[in-house]
Subunit: 304 residues, 2 copies
C-alpha cells in the first residue's frame, strides 16, 4: 500500500463529511486530498463488514451514491435482503444488492487478513477514486451512546431506533487500544491544512480523535473545522439535538466550543457570519453535486 | 434437528434429481420423502458457501427455481455480482441477488458452527419445504475429474470450461474421511424404497455412495434407479458423453452396469422398454412442473 502526503487532510464521517471531501476533491483535485474516515459506526450485517462512512465517501467520490437518500448506491435493488429476510436474516439495516457486491469483496479480503486500510485502497482504485481514503484505524472502534433507555451502539441508536433517544454521553469502545491506520499520522503531519469536515463531531470526528496519536498529530497544525450547523440546524441528522443534550449551544459557537483546543479556525456559512468572532466565512451548503466544486473553492479561498 | 424415517429416500443431485424429488413429493406428499443430496459440487464463491445441488432441490420444492434456466431463482437480478466484478470479485459462477440472500444466511450459520445439515433444515423450514433434505455429509467431499487437460474440480470442469473436456476418471476428494450427515443412514435403513434419482451417476450419485457407510446401508434394501438416459440421451447435461469416455454403453443397459451391485431395479422410459430385460417401465420425462405428479405416481405404481 503506497502512502502519500497531500496538501489537504480531512477528518470526516457521515453524509456531510463525504460531501465536503467531494467538494474539496472537485476544487483542488482528487490527488490533493486525503480523507481520514470514521469507523466507529462499522457494523456486521448478514456476516458482512459494513463501514457506512467509508462506503458513503467512496460512493460519493465514485459518483455512485444515491444522492436522494444520502446513503447506498443509486439505481439500487434489495432482492438479496428480501430473500435473506424470508430465511431469517436481519433486515433492519438496509443493504442493497449492488452494495452487497462491494461488501462481499471486502469481507473476503478482510477474512484473508487484508487490513481494512489496504482493502479500502484496493476498492477505491477499482472505482477510479484518487482521493487517498484511509480508515482512522484498522482496529475496531465502536461508538456507544448513553441514553435514558440505556447505552446503545451507534447503529441501534441511529438506524434501529431512528435517533429518537436523547444522548447524554458518548464513548468510543476500543479506541484506547486502537492504532491509527498506516498513513494516517503521516497524512496529518504532512498536510498544509487539516480540515474537520462538517460531520457530527460526537459520532464522526471524535471517534477519530479518540485513536491515540491522531489528536497529538494535530498539535501545531492548522486545523480548520467546517461548521456542520448552519443557522443552528444540521442540514440532516440529529446534531442540533445532541449538542443541546450534551451541554453545547446548538450553533456555530457551540461548534467552536466542541473543537476548542483542536481546531485553530472555524468556517461558518454566510448566514452565521457575525455569530462567531474570528470565524472564516464561506458558503458551505453543498447538497447538489454540481454546487460542490464551488463550495470547495470558496473554502480554499477562505483559508488562503 | 429432528430426524424422521420416511417411506421413500432419494439419493440425488443436479436438475434431474431435484425434479424427481419434486415428482415423488407431489405424488406421495412432501412428508413421505427424504432427499439425500450430493455435496461434491459445493464451492466457495465470493466467500459464500454455495451448494448447487442442495440449492436446486430446495428452490425446486419451494417453487422458486428458474425452471427455464434450470438453476437459480426465478425473477432474478445480478446486481451484486456485477458490482463485485467491478471491484475484482470473480464472476464466472453466476450468483443472483435473491440467491445471494440465501447464501448470506447460510454462510453465517456455517461460520457460527451450525452444520450444513442443520442449516439446510432451517432454510427448508423457512421456505415451507416439508421434504426432509439431508446433505450426504456435513464434511467436505469434492468431485474431481481427470481429463486430457489434467484434473479439474467439478465447477471448473462444468461451469468454467462448459464440460467440454473428456472425462477419463472421477474421484471424490475427502470422501473416505467424510461421515454421513445425521439422519442419512437412518433415512436409508428406514425407507421402504430407496431411489437413485435420474441424476448423473458419476458426479451426483457416486459422490454420495463414496461416503463410508452409505453404500453399506443400501445392502439388502430395495434400491430403484431411475434411468437418467432416455433413448440414449440425457435430457440435459453431458452424461451420455461421460458414459462413453468412462467405458459404459450410453443407454439404459449402461446405467444398469454402472449401478450393478447397488440398484436392485431400474426404471426406464417407455421408449426404452425392451432395451433392458427386467426393467420397470414408467414415463420419466418431467420437464414441466405440472407433469411431475404424474411421473411420480407412475413410478410409485411401477414399484408397487
Amino acid at each position: 500500500m503506497s502512502i502519500q502526503t497531500r496538501p489537504y487532510a480531512v477528518l470526516c464521517g457521515g453524509l456531510g463529511g463525504s460531501r465536503f471531501v467531494d467538494a474539496l476533491a472537485r476544487a483542488a483535485g482528487h490527488e490533493q486530498v486525503t480523507a481520514i474516515v470514521n469507523v466507529g459506526d462499522d457494523v456486521e450485517i448478514l456476516g458482512l463488514y459494513v463501514s457506512p462512512d467509508l462506503d458513503t465517501v467512496l460512493y460519493t467520490l465514485a459518483g455512485l451514491l444515491d444522492e436522494e437518500r444520502g446513503w447506498g448506491v443509486r439505481d439500487e435493488t434489495t432482492n438479496a435482503l428480501e430473500a435473506a429476510g424470508r430465511l431469517g436474516g436481519e433486515t433492519w439495516f438496509t443493504l442493497g444488492d449492488r452494495d452487497i457486491g462491494l461488501h462481499l469483496v471486502r469481507a473476503r479480503l478482510l477474512r484473508e487478513g487484508v487490513p481494512l486500510s489496504e482493502a479500502t485502497q484496493r476498492l477505491a482504485g477499482k472505482l477510479g477514486v484518487a482521493v487517498q481514503l484511509l480508515p482512522a484505524s484498522d482496529d475496531p472502534v465502536g461508538t456507544f451512546l448513553a441514553t435514558p433507555e440505556g447505552e446503545l451502539d451507534f447503529q441501534t441508536w441511529f438506524v434501529r431506533r431512528r435517533h429518537a433517544d436523547e444522548v447524554t454521553a458518548v464513548r468510543y469502545e476500543g479506541a484506547e487500544d486502537a492504532r491509527p491506520a498506516p498513513g494516517v499520522l503521516e497524512a496529518i503531519v504532512g498536510a498544509e491544512v487539516v480540515f474537520l469536515a462538517p460531520s457530527n463531531p460526537f459520532v464522526s470526528i471524535r471517534p477519530i480523535l479518540a485513536v491515540p496519536g491522531i489528536r497529538e498529530a494535530l498539535a501545531g497544525k492548522r486545523v480548520v473545522a467546517i461548521s456542520p450547523l448552519v443557522a443552528g440546524e444540521a442540514l440532516r441528522g440529529p446534531l442540533a439535538e445532541m449538542m443541546a443534550s450534551l451541554g453545547f449551544e446548538p450553533g456555530v459557537r457551540g461548534i467552536a466550543a466542541v473543537y476548542e483546543g483542536i481546531a485553530t479556525e472555524v468556517v461558518v456559512d454566510p448566514v452565521d457570519a457575525g455569530e462567531l468572532p474570528g470565524a472564516l466565512v464561506a458558503p458551505i451548503v453543498m447538497v447538489a453535486p454540481e454546487s460542490r466544486a464551488e463550495v470547495g473553492r470558496a473554502v480554499l479561498e477562505a483559508v488562503r
